[in-house]
């Protein structure tokens, strides 16, 4: 699948605060891996450089995925720092 895909991206905890927003709706060029999505977001200048952190985790449709995971149209993508619950 190629062309533009509409993707919702959520941010949580410290990352949400650093970016100053809980989510964005993005039109991006597909096919697209999580790693390249993260890179594209990180390249948008301040404060987006915080997306460069290799410690960030990514979930697609509420399941943890690896950086190689391919994002599809309609997916809900989330980036967040390592978890600290319990």
């Amino acid at each position: 699948m190629t062309g533009n895909v509409e993707i919702k991206v959520l941010f949580f905890a410290g990352l949400r605060e650093q970016l100053g927003l809980p989510s964005i709706q993005s039109k991006l060029q597909a096919p697209l891996t999580v790693a390249s999505l993260q890179q594209q977001l990180a390249s948008q200048g301040a404060p987006w450089h915080v997306m460069q952190s290799e410690h960030l985790l990514c979930a697609v449709n509420k399941e943890i995925v690896s950086p190689e995971h391919v994002v599809r149209a309609g997916d809900e993508v989330a980036f967040f720092p390592p978890v600290t619950g319990g």
């Binding site: 410290g14 509420k62 989330a78 967040f80 600290t84 619950g85 319990g86």
Partner: protein, 147 residues
């Protein structure tokens, strides 16, 4: 058999334990985590717990089901609170019922170790040093990796 709740409201640990007594278990282990009033860095006034609605519940449910495949369990419950929680308040309840004590102890311990590594929940600490997001502890990472 397995139930999960994510809520701001406090829970009654005694009632949650009672709910586990109806399955004919020989052993029930419960864990409760509470907000401590201090850490190595000083006084703690409160924590704010953030979660990822939907994913947090799913991941907790998967965690109980994983424990249920690994040990012979009769029932399991997790309640995790979110939002602002003052010092000494309850954060999390894990209850495991099984025929024998070893399975109950191990499964409850497993759930807590993995919860701290795998479930989307984040703690912000408010205290003597202002407020900051809690860092992952190396000891928690190791505890999660041992299972």
């Amino acid at each position: 058999m397995f139930s999960v709740k994510v809520q701001h409201e406090d829970f009654n640990a005694g009632k949650e334990y009672q709910a586990l007594t109806s399955v004919g278990a020989g052993a029930i282990v419960t864990f409760c985590g509470l907000v401590r009033d201090h850490s190595a860095e000083g006084r703690i006034d409160a924590l704010t717990l953030e979660h990822y609605p939907g994913m947090t519940e799913n991941t907790l449910q998967q965690l109980l089901e994983h424990a249920g495949r690994r040990w012979s369990l009769l029932a399991g419950r997790i309640i995790h609170r979110v939002g602002r929680l003052e010092a000494h308040q309850q954060i999390v309840f894990v209850g495991i019922a099984s025929e024998h004590r070893q399975a109950a102890f191990e499964a409850a311990s497993f759930v807590m170790d993995r919860l701290k590594n795998d479930v989307p929940l984040w703690k912000k600490q408010h205290g003597q040093q202002g407020e900051h997001w809690v860092e992952v502890k190396e000891s928690d990472r190791q505890a999660g990796a041992k299972w």
